[in-house]
């Protein structure tokens, strides 16, 4: 795979996945794997980082006789996600302008 995923990009993707619906570690990995080949060991530090900066919070919910840890996007996380999306749009346009020869006249 040619393009490495930066930490910021991974943070924003995880935020986006959890924003759709509160979910748990395994499912987040499975979801992100649709786009990028990552393992749980990559996801764990991302989740911790997002919790530390209070963009994500956790709660436990019973599932088949055990507690499953669910992640939820905080209001601070919502703001961060909106910001990430704006930045991504700009970033994508700039890369496309070079890589795909799109809208080169605007630069």
């Amino acid at each position: 795979m040619g393009f490495p995923i930066s930490a910021g990009l991974l943070d924003s993707m995880v935020l986006s996945v959890v924003d759709k619906e509160d979910t748990y570690g395994y499912e987040i990995t499975q979801y992100i794997r649709r786009a990028v080949d990552i393992s749980e060991s990559t996801l764990y530090p991302v989740l911790r980082r997002l919790q530390k900066s209070e963009l994500l919070e956790t709660y436990d919910k019973e599932y088949m006789g055990r507690n499953r840890r669910y992640y939820h996007v905080t209001s601070k996380g919502e703001e961060a996600l909106a910001d990430y999306r704006r930045q991504w749009c700009i970033h994508k346009r700039m890369v496309d302008s070079i890589l795909m020869n799109e809208g080169g006249e605007n630069i």
Binding site: P4, G25, S39, E40, Y44, P45, L47, R48, R68, R69
Partner: protein, 225 residues
């Protein structure tokens, strides 16, 4: 490795690494859930995907800023991606090959040009030794002439005694001069010989220790074969 083995091992390594208990529980809980959600029938597969407990623990410890095995270089290594490591290995292989090539080139050049440099070396060495020998001969000549004249003078003293006195006098002058210069001359010759020897030795040593073939590259404008 099944879930229980894997998680037990992970916890033990994290404890050994000195991670705070709260963080250990957090990590082990996270990976326990991964195992459980992946399904009991997939435990082996999950543990394979996660890599060995040692590797995983190392990652977790490093994310918490704990130096594993107290080795700073190790952290740098671990931070590199797989691709970077491959590139490095490739590069190391290439440069090792290049070093071998350089050694070979050096050897061949040394052999091919041997008539030149052996000749030059002999000439330089010969001149140096010649000069030293001359100095020694002059010194010896002083004594020889002085001694001969003095002895001759003593013999002549009994036949033509004024001539004998002149000869003895001249001979004593030569012996005296020889005596004056003998100590500094011998010291000088000795020093010169030692420095010639040292020069030759350090010259050889420099070429040997110059493993990168820099001196040859300088001479041949950085071309590699």
């Amino acid at each position: 490795m099944n879930r229980l083995e894997y998680l037990t091992s992970l916890r033990r390594i994290l404890e050994d690494g000195g991670l705070p208990r709260e963080e250990i529980n957090d990590a082990v809980r996270f990976y326990e859930e991964i195992f459980l959600d992946a399904g009991a029938e997939k435990e082996e597969e999950t543990s394979e995907n996660l890599g060995s407990p040692e590797e995983l623990a190392r990652k977790i410890l490093m994310d918490s800023g704990i130096h594993v095995e107290g080795d700073a270089v190790f952290q740098m290594e671990a931070a590199k991606t797989h691709e970077e490591q491959e590139q490095e290995q490739e590069y190391a292989k290439k440069s090792a090959q290049q070093d071998r090539n350089n050694m070979l080139v050096k050897l061949i050049i040394a052999l091919v040009t041997s008539p030149l440099w052996i000749g030059a070396l002999c000439a330089v060495g010969g001149v140096a030794i010649g000069l030293l020998a001359t100095a020694a001969a002059i010194l010896f000549a002083f004594f020889a002439v002085g001694f001969t004249m003095t002895v001759g003078g003593i013999v002549t003293l009994f036949t033509v005694y004024p001539a004998g006195i002149v000869l003895i006098g001249t001979g004593l002058i030569f012996l005296g001069l020889g005596g004056l210069i003998v100590v500094p001359a011998v010291k000088g010759i000795w020093k010169a010989m030692v420095s010639i020897f040292n020069g030759a030795v350090s010259c050889l040593r420099n070429y040997e220790s110059d493993g990168n073939g820099k001196s040859w590259r300088k001479i041949f404008g950085g071309r590699t074969v």
